[in-house]
């Protein structure tokens, strides 16, 4: 088995706790993304797996072997660093084959792997150059080539694309997935970029302040966030979260009440919570310009023009939210009517900030539907 198992992993520097009681399994051949804001402990976690940081307490297994005390060079890992960490005094070829030479691979094997990597990453022309004569994108590919020629069981990537411009990044994302499909290594990938996480990952492990907030597929992380942090961190603009009160069949937005469907009423009842956060993504907000049965009355505060779409900031009795629409945006001061699609809403316990769960009859993992839904009657 080439899986990675983290059991009750703690990491602290002096009194500063960086990773707290982390339990996580990365399956063999999986692409797991460690996602989170700066300082959340994701890079530290990756470095512990790489063997570059000591583990304060807990157990780390890689391929069934306890590796806490195993040196980095003996863990069968390769890593791509954010700054690429190419040896400046060596040519591209020497950089890529350095590890193979240390491991004393036969010359013919080194040649073969070098050619493979060159072809795969379109580096053939650059073999004799030094890193300083390469562009950022080329350097990134050399770093990747160096990591893949080792054919190690585990490939660790620490924000490998963060120094590239947007266009190159898109290309590199596809390349990474292609490489993974070819070599099928167990991938652990650190990023703070949610688009990268969504497009590269089989699963996303979202971290915040040293804690794991949610581990699930990109679709589930987006559609069924397990807590307020996940809901707000994933998606842009960020998910609307407003405080609401629950009573019987209603949710109270200030003094206005929204009638809940049966499925949500049962869900709330099972969670024994009265004080809730109501969440809905801006792209799922539907605003009507004419009074609609069951809708809440809102006032448009201001609008933002994003070029291809508009952000509408509106207020329901003190609850401020933002919605997105493509055209015919209402003007500031206009009265609009808000009736959410109950398949798209999220409810969280205000005490714990955790989701109260989702009714079973709701299908959320359907990304084929249009991303933005706005209705203007």
């Amino acid at each position: 088995m080439k899986d990675i198992v983290l059991e009750n992993i703690h990491k602290s520097y002096g009194t500063n706790q960086v990773v707290e009681d982390l339990n996580l399994t990365v399956a063999e051949g999986e692409r797991l993304i460690l996602l989170g804001p700066s300082g959340c402990g994701k890079s530290t976690t990756l470095r512990m797996i790489a063997g570059l940081e000591e583990i304060t307490s807990g157990k780390l297994y890689m391929g069934d072997q306890l590796v806490n005390q195993v040196a980095s060079g003996k863990r069968n890992v390769s890593m791509v660093f954010q700054n690429y960490a190419l040896f400046p005094h060596m040519t591209v070829e020497d950089n890529i084959t350095y590890g193979l030479k240390v491991h004393k691979y036969p010359k013919s094997e080194i040649e073969k792997r070098l050619r493979d990597a060159f072809e795969m990453l379109e580096l053939t022309e650059l073999g004799k150059r030094k890193p300083k004569d390469l562009s950022g994108g080329q350097r990134q590919r050399v770093a990747l080539a160096r990591a893949i020629v080792k054919r190690s069981d585990f490939l660790l990537l620490d924000e490998p694309l963060s120094n590239l411009d947007a266009q190159l990044r898109q290309h590199a994302r596809k390349e990474l997935v292609k490489i993974h499909k070819k070599y099928n290594q167990t991938f652990v990938y650190v990023t703070h970029d949610q688009i990268e996480a969504m497009t590269v990952g089989d699963r996303i492990a979202l971290m915040y302040e040293g804690n794991l907030k949610m581990v699930d597929s990109p679709k589930n992380v987006y559609h069924m966030p397990a807590n307020v942090f996940t809901a707000k961190f994933i998606g842009s603009p960020s998910c609307n979260i407003v405080s609401v009160e629950h009573d019987a069949n209603y949710l109270f937005f200030g003094t206005q009440k929204l009638i809940l469907p049966e499925s949500w009423i049962n869900q709330i009842r099972d969670s024994y919570t009265e004080q809730l956060y109501f969440g809905i993504r801006p792209e799922h907000v539907c605003l009507h310009t004419t009074p609609t049965a069951g809708a809440l009355t809102a006032t448009v505060k201001y609008t933002e023009d994003y070029g291809n779409r508009m952000g509408i900031y509106f207020d329901i009795d003190g609850c401020e939210m933002v919605g997105i629409c493509e055209d015919n945006a209402p003007y500031p001061g206009q009265t609009v009517y808000f009736l959410p699609d109950f398949d798209k809403i999220h409810l969280f316990d205000r005490g714990t900030s955790d989701s109260i769960g989702y009714p079973v009859n709701i299908t959320r993992s359907n990304l084929n539907e249009p991303a933005y839904q706005y209705k203007f009657a």
């Binding site: 060079g73 890992v77 890593m79 350095y98 080792k150």
Partner: protein, 275 residues
């Protein structure tokens, strides 16, 4: 006139004066080494000799075992350089890349030895070297100079500029510490190593007090000691010969400095020390 240009001109004049002041003794030595003793006493400050002569240089090469003396100097300077540089690289690498208990205390103690004046260690070193029976022996001159805290400091500073991730990559490839040092670290800090070695070499080449304590017989003399033979306590009877020896002594360090000045200056500016 442009005030910016005026200021620049002012600076240049000032720099020119400083350069001339520093060059004056060298010019003095070179010009007097080509004068006869009689000429030199009459026109000691004139730059161009009235009757240029090679007499002094002939004296040096015929009456003095100049080659042997140069060889002695070279053996001492190159051994000291080789050892100091090697020990500096190894020690600096240990301080940069290994984690061990008491590292910062050890480093602090080591660096504080830079501030111990030579006159304090001179007598203990002399007694040690004597007890080893190494008086009047080149090895006796070399022995107390095998390691040097300044070198460790300079090389450590330059090793610290290597991104940590580069060393981590080497470690992940299971490259041994020694291999990483040889294949990655040393090539990356080559300029610092070259300049540190040259400074060691020049210092050792010019060294006077320690060799004069250890070396007694003329066949063991180094260039600075040979120079001393011509400068008597009364003020110097053969001072033009002394000037010729001075010029010859200067040649090697000056050439080294001129060839490698790029590295030397960059190392001192990088370490935050003014040269």
């Amino acid at each position: 006139m442009n005030p910016e240009k005026d200021r620049q001109l002012g600076w240049h004049v000032l720099l020119l004066i400083i350069v001339l002041l520093s060059l004056a003794p060298i010019l003095f030595a070179v010009s007097n080494s080509f004068k006869t003793l009689g000429d030199a006493y009459n026109t000691v400050l004139s730059i161009i000799p009235r009757n240029p002569t090679l007499e002094n240089y002939l004296h040096v090469f015929t009456r003095l075992d100049f080659l042997k003396i140069t060889l002695n100097t070279f053996i001492i300077a190159s051994s000291v350089t080789l050892f100091k540089t090697t020990t500096s690289i190894l020690a600096a690498y240990a301080f940069v890349s290994f984690q061990f208990k008491g590292k910062s205390i050890l480093y602090f103690i080591l660096i504080s030895t830079i501030f111990i004046p030579f006159s304090v260690t001179m007598i203990p070193n002399y007694l040690t070297v004597s007890s080893f029976g190494l008086r009047d022996n080149l090895v006796g001159v070399i022995l107390p100079q095998l390691a040097d805290a300044t070198g460790i400091f300079l090389i450590r500073q330059s090793m610290r500029t290597i991104p940590k991730s580069i060393l981590e990559v080497a470690g992940m490839e299971n490259s041994s510490s020694f291999k990483t040092l040889r294949d990655v670290v040393v090539p990356l800090i080559k300029p610092a190593i070259i300049s540190t070695s040259i400074i060691f070499f020049i210092n050792s080449w010019n060294e006077y007090v320690w060799p004069v304590l250890v070396l007694k017989s003329k066949s063991m003399f180094t260039l600075p000691l040979a120079l001393q033979m011509y400068i008597s306590s009364e003020g110097g009877t053969e001072f033009t010969i002394a000037m010729a020896v001075s010029v010859l002594t200067m040649l090697v360090p000056l050439t080294l400095y001129l060839v490698f000045q790029k590295y030397i200056i960059s190392t001192f500016t990088a370490s935050g020390i003014k040269g």
